[in-house]
């Protein structure tokens, strides 16, 4: 599929895989200052799929699309280091506080403006774990969607996708344009490329440049500018963004503290093991 345009949805998330005792604040919100901001892991799997398509066909372009604060530009740079062609940072105060519905509204508008043939994203982000944004973007675009993708290739203009499901593997085919969300079981993303890193390490958005007030970057380098879009750039209705566009309200957050007294001692006897299996099935931990 020569010449197709791919957009990869990526999110900067707090690294919740190594959570310490101070990861949450007293009010129940995430203490972002102690958790390093990283590229959402399954979005990296999605990026790898996009780059593989780019490797296999002529003239394919890969554009990263991320929504977040100014510092989320780092996600675009990370994508460029690995082989993406460019990226767009959706950033605006009006986006703050968006739930998945408002986020997918904004992302869908941005995708429309970018007009790709294929949108790839991670199955879900490790901070919210909703897995809603990808499917919602597809709905708003009115495009078909395939979730849990693990591997994909083109055949006769259609994308053949292997899906990793709970009870097995399913292979489907879908026409373009299409939204695909990629599973963590898909191949890991390639490492940064040395030359691309050296080329793009000073790529900045306009806002970043102003904040850094550094002549160094502008003077020493052929300036690589990263695209920044606000509400106006995607002609969004402010009512559908941010808090006002987000029906999800967090009512209360509870800290769950697991206590040692909840532990249970089992022997190696068949009876104990059987009762454990039954218990795990009943409370839906397995099965």
């Amino acid at each position: 599929m020569n010449g197709i345009k791919i957009v990869v949805l990526a999110k900067q998330v707090p690294d919740t895989r190594n959570v310490g005792p101070d990861a949450m604040k007293a009010d129940g919100t995430v203490n972002r200052s102690v958790l390093p901001a990283i590229f959402n892991p399954e979005d990296l799997n999605a990026l790898e799929q996009a780059l593989r398509i780019k490797d296999s066909y002529e003239g394919v372009t890969v554009t990263l699309l991320t929504m977040g604060p100014v510092r989320a530009a780092e996600i675009i740079r990370e994508g460029l280091y690995r082989g993406a062609d460019d990226g767009v940072l959706l950033t605006d105060r009006a986006f703050a506080g968006s739930d998945t519905l408002a986020t997918s509204y904004a992302l869908a508008l941005a995708v429309r403006r970018l007009a790709p043939d294929l949108v790839l994203g991670g199955r879900q982000a490790i901070d919210g774990d909703t897995a809603q944004v990808g499917p919602q973007v597809a709905e708003k675009l009115g495009w078909p969607q395939v979730t849990y993708a693990e591997e994909m290739h083109f055949e006769g203009g259609r994308l053949i996708i292997r899906r990793r499901l709970e009870r097995g593997v399913e292979t489907v085919s879908a026409p373009l344009p299409l939204v695909v969300t990629v599973n963590g079981t898909a191949p890991a993303c390639r490492y940064r490329n040395a030359r691309l890193l050296m080329k793009y390490k000073y790529a900045r958005t306009d806002t970043e440049l102003q904040a850094e007030s550094s002549d160094y970057i502008a003077a020493g380098r052929p300036a690589v500018r990263l695209t920044e879009w606000g509400v106006e750039a995607i002609s969004a209705d402010p009512e559908q963004l941010g808090i006002s566009g987000s029906p999800t309200k967090v009512k209360e957050i509870e800290n769950v503290i697991l206590q040692a007294k909840e532990s249970k001692r089992l022997t190696a006897s068949d009876r104990d093991i059987e009762s454990l299996v039954r218990e795990l099935l009943e409370n839906h931990t397995i099965g």
Binding site: R190, Y191, A194, R195, L197, M198, K201, A219, G220, R221
Partner: protein
Amino acid sequence: MANFYTDNRDLRFHLKHPAMEKIVRLKEMDYRDRGQYDYAPCDFEDAMDNYDRVLEIIGSICSEVIAPNAVDVDLEGPTVADGHVTYARGTLENHEALTRAGVIGMNFPRKYDGLNFPMVPYVMAAELVSRADAGFANIWGLQDCGETILEFASEEIRDEFLPRFNKGATAAMDLTEPDAGSDLQAVQLKAHYDESKGTWLLNGVKRFITNGDAGISLVLARSEEGTSDGRGLSLFVYDKADGGARVRRIENKMGIKGSPTCELVFRNAPAKLIGERRLGLIKYVMSLMNGARLGVGAQSVGIAQAAYEEAKKYASERKQFGKTIDQFPAVYEMLTVMRVRLEAMRSLLYETARFVDTYKGWSFISGERTLTKEERDDLKVNTRLADIYTPLVKLISSEWCNSIAYDALQIHGGAGFIKDFPVERLYRDARITSIYEGTSQLQVVAAIRGVTTGGYLAQIREYDKMEVRPEMEYLKKKLAGLTDDFEKRVAQVMAAGNNELTDFHARRLVEMAANIIMGYLLLQDAQRDQVYASSVELFIPMAISENRMKSDFIAAFEEKELGLYKVS
């Protein structure tokens, strides 16, 4: 995430050595590539930031891909079919990850799609890859062959071969033959120029060729009929795509099993001449070998680091008699000696890399313009230092790598003798380092010139001029004492005027010089960063006791005793 670069403070410490400012300026020729290549640095800080960040990429590939693959690669190894080699699955994965990361051809100029990095960060990368998998480090490290092409081959050959490295081409240096191992002058493989085909053709057999089925091979061959010594040998480049060379078999080795060691048969294999005829061994291979010896130095430090990490971890977990075994003097002494030796050999490695960088920098510039007198002098001094330090690094780090691997296995006790722990593989991998690219005994032959010509001594006196913190003055005095003693023993041996006696004591004298040099280097490190203060405090008494033993032996030795050692 584990990262072999960032988890070892020594590396950043050596990367940030004050001499780097000059080295980078030479390598980047005053940053003239800026503006021309979008990835060229615009100044010193920018370049240093590049090295640091690229080493971070390599460090994560090493810890996340190469090291985890090492176990299977060791078991599976490469295979041979139809005259060609297939790598183990993990080897292919490692190679692909590093190729995609764009870190093959690290030293080459940008016009050949290289990164134009100096030796210092390149040697660091070699150390990292070796720590992850020493066998794979050979396949990756043979990009050194590109340096020889760059330095000596025609523009046409450079344009043809160098850009291929960055795309993942592997290389080999085809030097040794069944009857030409340490003695390369005995090489028989024949090269003759075929007028009708307009090419050189190679015929003969090569043996013990690391990565022999590589895409690009440098082949040492006899081009001058009727000659029998090194002056009849020329160096050629053979492209696997042209065909003519086949792998007859691969050796079943003790260690570095992932790296195929090939026996090759050349039958009318077309090849291109590098540089001039007759200079193959005496000039080009000597340069190639120097690069490879520094590479083995880095490999040895990498393996030693891996072995030390394994030993430290095991000793901190294994409990006997109610406590972890690292609480017993017999074990913690071993661990600390390992650490201090590692730091000492690493300092020697990067000191040597800096000499190499400096002379290479000047000699590259001299290809474009005439050097001033000071510049020529600097080139000369650094060339000489690189020449005498390279065999020293190869000798010391490979021998210590072996002793560190030995002790690391010892700390594991019976568990170390079983294939369940990585230390068993490291112990086997370590063994080759003091053998290939010139045995330790041959490194001594090369290094003894540094003793007899006073090269080491002059540099030691240079080190002695450094300012040290007042509380470390006493250490400097001790080193000065060792130097006096060394000078005395050298004079004694030389006074006999007996070459065989000099050869007999050569290793002792070379190792005495090495201990003094490493003592000064650690002292220098401690001036730059207090954390190395304890290392130099620990190292100097070890150096004193080792040197004293050698010195006493030489002092008491009478020339006639040499006869007692001779094997009849």
